[in-house]
Symmetry: C2
Subunit: 445 residues, 2 copies
């Protein structure tokens, strides 16, 4: 006897998730209740009402997330992961003395491949634990970070650093540029790692290497990720030395294109916002760092209104002092209301868009990341709202941005694999990471 | 045989705490290592090097806090605890539509003694869990909050609300004032509860009741706690209607004295700062709420430099949306750097002073609270820094303010009794509090 021909066979799934609220970020305000999500391999294969999905899929693991919000993985669009070892090392100082008197001397004394590995490993663990599934990073020895990211199952875009002056990593601008292109070549088909050019800032890289970077970036079709217009002093110094603002100089040198990612950009005139919008530039807002170093306020709502792709970055832990994208969204929302002088500015939904959809676009991966949709890569985060500080819930996205602490992140999937389960990192050794951080701090302080 | 006459007898202690870092807040920058603290009854009876204290005291319980920072209990200088039931109910709106279109209509529909009890109970639990050991509160039915505070073992100063118009709590200004004086009388010898007058704001209380309040406050020697200069619109409306700014009006009415507590005060001219300093007024800064409602920026560093007692408040959860003094310190530090345009402003140590020493002064309890000193009341908080996001540690106070999440608070003592142990509330039922909050939200939304 054969089974009935009309019987539909179950499809396979590795995971079926049943969250209380599912926010796909495909549409502003859309919160799905009683919906489940199925993961097979590294992809999202279904998002359907619970009952229909239960009938269609046979799953290896079902995970009940009965008090949880499920969102796309958070994308940290700017940081310096190894600097986590300098967390709290030089607080309550402005940018220039912070850099020149504290950070650069400490870096020249301590940075090595081992420093980079231990600092980036701590940062990656903190980011995963807090729901970050992809991060853009600018630091020396980026290949060390690439290896860690692959091992830890987190996505990264490495903005390979470029400076005029020698460091332990490279001799001169050409040497830095060569290292960047070689790294890009080695990782060009990697599922977790992308490479970008990371000229540090207009004031640390001169015209010739900037033009060279522009040419190569266009050839290789990879982004240029640069700190620019971070504070008023940078702009004034450029005007007094060169007779032009840094962005005008970058434009003359041919860098202002859709490959450009401007980090900080606290000093933007209307015409500059129009220029960035017209050229399709990405702007990366680091609100905690901008406040911490008193760099200035980013005109977030004006930037969004101009149609610019605005993302959020934590910056390094030496100027933040945490790699916490949930706090950073809150900070972006609150600072945005202050700088716009109206409370509707930079709403909870807008900052979550910046941290997901816009972050994916900055990676050039808007087709595969940034939202929860069938066929996209399974990078998703569950947040437990069943805590005193997150009850009651009227709008789970508002609760996420304005009330959640990142330790409420309970589950994190990257590329379909579970990285955090019930608030614990699945494969990283927290105690060992902390012990290494302490051992560095004992030497450094 | 008798024991040797030279043998010194051990003293008794209920608790001996062995923290890694002990920050008494008696002196800026003072971090004690290898020191222990002994509690007997409701008092701190010793702070000594571990070894000497172990030899002197016999303790009922020794608590090893080997990765922890021990600080004085945090003092939340302004809030509306029952409004926790409106957390996230009306986000991304400016003050006037937030109040007039959302909060006041919802309050007139829902506020009752039961609402106050359930909302304040949730708030008290959240605050204790996050290291807050005393809070000033302004809301209807304050006696319900008083009873909860006594039961939950948390200190409170209840600013009994006063308005011109009727609510479910009182009929007219005289009725509100009578309720405030009666409450003050009933709680005048209570160890946990103090009472203040809580005129809502200059624009909701007219001259006659304000003068009456001033007279009574002087007679009873209790504070006047009022929202004032919260945003520019309040100031402009007053100027256009009355020809004077609200603070000028309060001064004319005799309210500007050391009994006055000005909440928000985002709009202060130099002369007003000088006036408040001269009169010994307390200012209470609510940075998250000020940003959330786009009310404006408080000139925190200027206020501190003028010698004014500046405290930190979370405000209610309808405009914050969390009662988290650790996040609020961070917010005060970051906003202070933006508003002062220099990064040394409102350092980590300064904001911790605001949240402890200055808060105690606002309660008129600087002799018994605000620092860890022998003879003071044992309100203290242990924070576990052994987390990925708080390593390494160079300065534990910087780590506390810029990196800690409040869920890292592990132990809280109020009046010598343990309220939170290993991150769990000792006597409050979290699940029941959450269930009640949900049930209210289901009705309200």
């Amino acid at each position: 006897m054969s089974s009935s021909g009309s019987h539909q066979e179950s499809r396979e799934a590795d995971f079926i998730l049943h969250p209380k609220w599912l926010v796909p970020m495909t549409e502003k305000g859309l919160v799905l209740s009683d919906h489940s999500l199925a993961i097979q391999g590294n992809k999202i294969v279904a998002i359907e009402p619970c009952e229909s999905l239960k009938n269609t899929f046979k799953s290896v693991r079902e995970i009940n997330l009965e008090n949880h919000l499920l969102i796309p993985g958070l994308i940290n669009a700017h940081g310096h992961s190894p600097m986590t070892l300098f967390r709290g090392f030089a607080d309550d100082l402005p940018l220039q003395p912070w850099l020149e008197e504290k950070i650069w001397p400490a870096e020249s004394q301590w940075v090595s491949e081992e420093f980079v590995r231990d600092g980036a490993a701590l940062a990656i663990a903190e980011m995963l634990r807090g729901g970050t599934t992809a991060f853009t990073d600018m630091y020396f020895f980026p290949e060390e970070i690439a290896k860690l990211a692959v091992d830890a199952n987190i996505r990264t875009m490495l903005a390979s650093p470029i400076l005029d002056f020698p460091t332990v990593f490279a001799q001169d601008a050409d040497d830095y540029i060569r290292k960047a292109t070689e790294l890009s070549d080695r990782y060009k088909n990697n599922n977790h790692v992308q490479v970008a050019f990371g000229p540090h800032a207009p004031y640390t890289v001169s015209d010739t290497p900037l033009q060279h970077i522009s040419t190569l970036a266009n050839e290789l079709d990879i982004p240029i990720h640069i700190h620019v217009h971070e504070n008023i002093q940078e702009v004034e110094d450029s005007v007094s030395k060169l007779g032009k603002r840094p962005l005008a100089r970058l434009e003359e040198l041919g860098l202002v294109s859709q490959l450009l990612q401007c980090v900080h950009a606290t000093q933007l005139e209307d015409a500059e916002i129009a220029l960035l919008a017209e050229a399709g530039v990405t702007v990366i807002h680091c609100p905690s760092s901008n406040a911490n170093l008193s760099s200035g306020s980013c005109r977030t709502q004006d930037i969004v209104d101009a149609g610019i792709n605005l993302c959020i970055g934590t910056d390094g832990a030496a100027s933040n002092n945490e790699l916490n994208m949930i706090n950073e969204m809150r900070q972006a929302a609150l600072q945005g209301k202050i700088s716009a002088s109206h409370a509707e500015a930079t709403s909870a939904w807008e900052v979550l868009t910046m941290a997901t959809v816009n972050g994916a676009r900055a990676l050039g991966q808007e087709e595969s990341l940034g939202t929860l949709e069938i066929g996209k890569l399974a990078d998703c985060v569950a947040v437990d709202l069943n805590h005193l500080n997150t009850q009651p819930v009227y709008d789970p996205v508002s609760t996420l941005v304005y009330s959640v602490q990142s330790q409420q992140v309970s589950h994190v999937w990257v590329d379909g694999k579970l990285n955090v389960e019930n608030g614990e990192l699945c494969s990283l050794d927290t105690a060992e990471l902390i012990a290494k951080a302490r051992s560095w701090a004992n030497k450094i302080q």
